[in-house]
């Protein structure tokens, strides 16, 4: 038992810290960009348009699957502006059309029609569309000017003015319950055509008058082979509908005519055509894709009945049309050499062909390397322009399967690459960088103590010599670089030069994205050092990243394991890799034939210093990885002390298990929360790498209130199934994960989620929506053992007879929040802050002091002594507390905190749509000199004092001498 007096010392120190640094957390203006960076992403591109309004325009417009409409600088790949709509189906962008300066968008499955001013990035107008699911939209031109836009819904077609979005007319479509209307087309005449299909029966074509929406013509064409207009038909030439029949592999033009072409088996042929201007009919040339890398350029002859093949492209990955002025060109992307499969990097070539003749244009070949590891090229966006000598130049944007965008300029220069997969980071870890050779040498010196005195001295000297050498080399480098012009000096970070810095502030960020692409990012500069694309990852996969071995075990390389689980089947696979280089490890992961329910990382280490990962399958059998003999033996020895829990949120079941010696399991407890009343929303334990420095808190009367530090405590959050505002509630259960004992239960009536919560040390902070007062509220639960510890040496869940004292307080928070996390430092001495992600994109650093259930309503001497802030119902949000100032992180999804080598410093990465990395100092930088430390002042004062003493000494001497003479 530790005496309380001893205890109080660090805690009182703590109090001093608190009192000194309450209001301190803020960014200074000169720190902008010093150790923080932000990268903005938009997501997977759905629609891309180059600004063709003016020849020299640099703008590129993208609409993405993250419901974002963005404008890029096509020369640099940087964002001009970006509009983030609501996530989910209500904000999905159905179509993006560009006309002049206006970008037209149908949003939310035909909910809204928006027109943007692409120049300013503001909205021109927004119009609410009638209900009905969106099918198609196109511009409608009248006498060569585009004035309207037609929107086709499932059962209606409407025409809107481009200037203000007002509806000109809306017409119901005939027989909309049987006919599937799928396409709308206007060729510049006074008519709007709507194409519908009754699958495998006939095709319906209706022509509407532009003026008043009257049906001018209605025609039905027998087409028993046609199932969908959308996927197999395009309009070519002067109003000729070209359809491809997937069953008989024939090409139909209407009026029907067929042409035999060979299609690779199992491939659905695709037609590609182009309508350069909505006021004119599409060009009569079109592409037919016959296989994954086989395209044919075809031409519809002027008579409208015959088709002539112009050119056969094989192999050809992608084709695209582009128009500039009066010229239309076709861009074709082909692999440069035949050995596609063998090499990792493949050179690709893009050539331009004249669309009307199929002839290759001279000097238009662009060759660029394509990393096939990043997936196949997916789409090609070509921006053609006329050069001064009237020849066609072009730039091209290549989208690959991993959502990456590459912008290429003639002659084969990759201008920029955007890794848009990073818009959807699922999970991440920060891994320490390896030591350099010198550092390792120095570290090694302290390892062995068996040597005698003399060798130790020698070793010390030799390492000092090494340090001196390194320093001299550094000086020489500085001198050498100083002579160079400033712009040329580049400190490029490469994998080879990576090494840990003095305070371990620079780390490797391993990020896992939803698309299955892994990234290794340098936390200091934000540059991507490695990337690895896992190709066969299902879109609904769940990921868990585990660091099995850190960099501390040289010469064993660090090792990370990614558990990829299919959400529907539960089947999982492991990807083992080196987090510093991104290379796949040669260690073979175990085969996992059964669905995985739970994974746990044990502190047990095998002979190669890798922590053991246990995977529990649906039969409650356990698989260990690595599963060497050594590991299995260790597991057997401690099987009886390994516990884990499982959650079945669909059954409202929370159960605890214990491992048996034969790696099977036994259930030891079960908590059932009836699903008719409430459902389990989230379960959270504490972070395993968290340290708590002080065991208690010193109160005003100098007694100690000991914290209840149960490492096995789980916070279970439930929400009521009844959504009625009067009866809804949010429940928080604190359950001991070993014994299943419910330590505390708090129910917040008239509240609903989404609940965000943090569980750390001896407290749980959660946030919910108060349905009665319509506001967000923070509640804090703090657990204390009381003024005496039951067993101060070790905590045991099985031997704690007394329930902890629970204190709770609730506060109003004047904003909704999107995510929450607590800061984490090396030793846990620094005070804690909560990092709260707000919908505005700001990340608020809220001192935990404000969330202290012991905040008094009436200030007393004791509370003042303890530095408790008097209770105030409303929590302040101060913009000075935003750690990311104006660098907002859109749609913050997670905040990752990691300790650094400095106790005062916590590394923070906020990810969502954007990635923001920074450092926070919750108690200011008490262990290093601050940025603004005034070296000049301190040295000048020192010198001044020194000289003053010298002079006064001299004067005193003179005076003494004079007196002696007197």
């Amino acid at each position: 038992m530790k005496p309380p007096a001893k205890m109080s010392k660090p805690t009182s120190l703590f109090v001093i810290f608190f009192s000194l640094f309450v209001m301190s957390e803020a960014v200074f203006e000169d720190q902008v960009g010093k150790f923080d960076w932000r990268q903005q992403y938009v997501g997977k591109t759905l629609f891309a348009h180059f600004d063709s309004h003016s020849q020299s325009s640099k703008k590129l417009f993208l609409a993405t699957d993250k419901n974002i409409f963005a404008s890029f600088n096509s020369r640099t790949g940087e964002l001009f502006w970006r509009h983030v709509d609501k996530a989910g189906p209500e904000g999905t962008i159905d179509i993006l059309l560009l006309h002049g300066q206006d970008a037209l968008m149908v949003v939310g499955g035909g909910r809204l029609l928006r027109s943007w001013d692409t120049n300013m990035g503001g909205l021109n107008w927004e119009a609410v569309l009638d209900t009905g699911s969106f099918q198609a939209a196109c511009f409608v031109a009248m006498q060569d000017t585009v004035k309207h836009v037609a929107v086709l819904k499932k059962a209606a077609i409407s025409l809107h003015y481009l200037t203000n979005g007002h509806q000109k007319w809306v017409e119901n479509l005939p027989d909309s319950d049987t006919v599937q209307y799928q396409a709308v087309y206007s060729g510049g005449e006074e008519e709007v055509y709507v194409l519908g299909v009754v699958p495998n029966s006939h095709l319906t074509i209706i022509a509407y008058s532009l003026e008043d929406g009257e049906i001018i013509k209605q025609r039905s064409v027998e087409a028993p082979w046609l199932s969908s207009v959308e996927s197999s038909c395009v309009v070519v030439g002067h109003g000729v509908l070209m359809c491809v029949d997937t069953a008989t592999l024939a090409l139909y033009a209407l009026p029907i005519q067929s042409l035999d072409l060979e299609v690779s088996p199992g491939f659905q042929p695709v037609l590609v055509s182009s309508q350069p201007h909505p006021a004119r009919s599409p060009i009569s040339e079109f592409f037919l894709q016959l296989g994954p890398d086989h395209h044919v350029l075809l031409q519809l002859n002027a008579d409208g009945y015959t088709i002539a093949p112009l050119r056969d492209f094989q192999p050809a990955f992608l084709v695209s049309f582009s128009t500039t002025g009066e010229k239309t060109v076709a861009a074709v992307m082909t692999p440069k050499n035949e050995t596609v499969k063998k090499k990792k990097n493949v050179a690709c070539a893009i050539n331009l062909f004249s669309a009307d003749s199929g002839r290759r244009l001279l000097d238009t070949t662009v060759i660029f390397p394509l990393d096939l590891n990043g997936g196949k090229p997916f789409k090609l966006y070509v921006h053609a322009f006329l050069k001064k000598d009237d020849s066609v130049g072009y730039r091209v944007l290549v989208q690959t399967q991993d959502h990456a965008l590459t912008f290429i300029q003639q002659p084969g220069r990759v201008v920029w690459t955007r890794e848009e997969a990073l818009a959807d980071v699922v999970t991440m870890e920060m891994v320490d960088l390896p030591l350099t050779g010198t550092q390792a040498e120095l570290e090694g010196e302290f390892g062995k103590k068996a040597d005698g005195l003399f060798p130790m001295v020698l070793k010390r000297l030799s390492s000092q010599v090494i340090l001196l050498q390194a320093w001299l080399a550094h000086l020489w480098k500085l001198f050498y670089e100083a002579r160079k012009p400033h712009g040329q000096v580049k400190n490029e970070v490469t994998i080879e030069t990576l090494s840990r810095d003095e305070f371990n502030l620079q780390k490797m960020m391993v990020m896992v994205t939803a698309s299955g692409k892994l990234f290794g990012i340098d936390s200091k500069s934000g540059s991507i050092l490695w990337k690895h694309y896992l190709e066969n990852v299902q879109p609904n996969a769940v990921f868990k990243l585990i660091v099995q071995r850190t960099t501390a075990h040289f010469p064993h390389p660090p090792q990370c394991t990614l558990l990829i689980k299919d959400k529907d089947t539960g089947l999982a696979s492991l990807h083992v890799f080196n987090p510093i280089f991104g290379r796949k490890s040669h260690i073979a992961p175990p085969a996992l034939p059964r669905p995985i329910l739970q994974s746990l990382l044990l502190p047990v280490i095998d002979q190669d210093y890798a922590k053991v990962l246990l995977l529990v399958d649906d039969q409650y059998k356990v698989t260990a990885f690595p599963s060497t003999k050594n590991v299995l033996q260790q597991l057997q020895e401690m099987a009886s002390s390994i516990f884990f829990y499982l959650i079945r949120s669909d059954q409202g079941n929370l159960s605890g298990f214990r491992l048996r010696k034969d790696l099977s399991t036994e259930r030891i407890w079960e908590v059932v929360l009836p699903t008719e009343v409430q459902k389990i929303v989230a379960v959270n334990g504490k972070r395993p790498n968290e340290h708590v420095h002080s065991q208690g808190r010193v109160m005003g009367d100098r007694s100690v209130l000991y914290k209840y530090l149960n490492p096995n405590l789980l916070a279970v959050v439930t929400e009521s199934t009844d959504a009625h505002p009067e009866r809804a509630f949010v429940g928080v259960f604190l359950v001991d994960g070993v014994t299943g004992r419910i330590i505390h239960e708090a129910v917040q009536r008239k509240a609903r989620g989404p609940v965000h919560f943090v569980h750390s040390e001896n407290w749980v902070v959660y946030e919910y929506w108060n349905t009665k007062s319509r506001r967000n509220e923070f509640s804090v639960l703090e657990l204390f053992e009381g003024t005496e510890l039951y067993n101060s040496t070790v905590f045991s869940s099985l031997d704690r007879p007394h329930l902890p004292q629970v204190l709770q307080q609730t506060y109003i928070f004047p904003s909704p929040i999107t995510t929450m996390e607590a800061t984490l430092t090396e030793k846990g001495i620094t005070s804690r802050h909560l990092l709260v992600g707000l919908p505005s994109g700001a990340i608020l650093s809220l001192p935990k002091m404000f969330l202290d259930p012991r905040r008094p309503e009436v200030v007393t001497e004791h509370s003042r002594e303890e530095n408790l802030i008097p209770y105030a119902p409303e929590m302040p949000i101060r913009t000075e507390w935003f750690i990311n100032y104006n660098q907002t992180v859109a749609r913050v999804k997670g905040i990752y905190t990691a300790p650094s080598g400095l106790e005062s410093t916590c590394l923070v990465v906020a990810y969502g749509l954007d990635i923001y990395q920074t450092r926070v100092y919750p108690s200011k930088q008490f262990d290093v000199l601050k940025d603004d430390y005034d070296y000049v002042l301190i040295s000048s004062v020192l010198f001044a004092l020194f000289f003053a003493t010298m002079i006064s000494k001299r004067l005193a001497q003179v005076k003494l001498l004079n007196r002696a003479w007197r």
Partner: protein, 294 residues
């Protein structure tokens, strides 16, 4: 005993191990926020308004701004003239906010009745039913750019010199050094003049000075820290620990007569005792301040 040891051993392991058993089972990542009583087919309304940043062109800020209703429940974008419409909002009470990384706007609560009547009022999270009406359609005026940064504490010579402590140290020093030079003490006319002026202020010169009296009292009875400083003219500078803020010293010689009566000196002493000494609890401070009686 053995059991106990075993148990604690086990628990050590538990401590370390259990916590790592993080959940990886099928959990919905939080429910989709369903606003309780809203029917999907209920009437939908629109919230209209206009946002203004005084002195800033709209094109400079609208591309990064947006309008959020109740967090991100409904989102609207700003038109090129700063006006906005949030469409498709069911009846209810919402906090409407214009979010811009550059400029701050006050949030407004908008109530929509089931018939579509709109009302805007100030947001008050504590008294939620309090109504302070705001104009509708909303008129949101920015109160300026956000203050994200703290001011660095810079160090300059002026800061140092203007520091009240330093001022208090320097000013007396100046007076002490300069005053004897300004006032020619050896001039008998001058001496006379000053004596006269002092006499006018002191109606009864025969009455002993209070401070003098006190000094005598305390120096006699209590242990006092007294110290004589160099030179033959001034002796017996007394600091009284009982009278915390007051110092006395009696001086002899030529200076005494003048300074005792000097109006300036009195003023100065007054200043010292009022301003300077209350700051320091240590009565010895006064020993460093030379000269004269209070």
């Amino acid at each position: 005993m053995w059991l106990h040891v075993r148990l604690s051993e086990v628990c050590l392991f538990l401590q370390a191990m259990f916590i790592l058993a993080c959940c990886f089972s099928d959990m919905e990542s939080g429910p989709i926020a369903t606003s309780g009583s809203v029917q999907p087919n209920g009437d939908r309304f629109k919230i209209e308004g206009r946002a203004i940043v005084p002195g800033v062109k709209t094109q400079d800020w609208i591309s990064s701004a947006r309008v959020t209703v109740e967090g991100e429940e409904y989102i609207g974008f700003l038109r090129t003239d700063g006006s906005f419409v949030v469409n498709d909002v069911p009846s209810g009470s919402y906090v409407v906010e214009v979010i811009s990384p550059g400029y701050k706007f006050e949030a407004v609560r908008v109530d929509i009745t089931s018939k579509g009547k709109m009302r805007a009022r100030l947001v008050n999270f504590i008294k939620t039913s309090e109504v302070i009406r705001q104009p509708y359609p909303l008129q949101l005026r920015s109160s300026g750019p956000h203050t994200y940064f703290m001011k660095r504490e810079t160090w300059g010579w002026t800061d140092f010199l203007m520091n009240p402590m330093v001022m208090m140290m320097v000013l007396p020093l100046l007076i002490i050094v300069l005053l004897p030079k300004v006032v020619n003490t050896n001039d008998p006319e001058m001496r006379k003049e000053m004596e006269q002026s002092m006499n006018m202020l002191n109606p009864n010169p025969e009455l002993p000075d209070v401070s003098e009296f006190m000094t005598k009292l305390f120096s006699g009875s209590k242990s006092s820290s007294s110290k004589a400083i160099g030179g033959s003219k001034c002796q017996n500078i007394t600091c009284t620990s009982g009278l915390r803020n007051y110092c006395n010293w009696s001086c002899h010689g030529n200076y005494n007569a003048i300074f005792k009566k000097s109006f300036f000196i009195r003023l100065y002493n007054c200043f010292l005792s009022r301003v300077f000494f209350p700051l320091s609890n240590n009565p010895r401070v006064c020993t460093t301040l030379v000269l004269c009686q209070f």
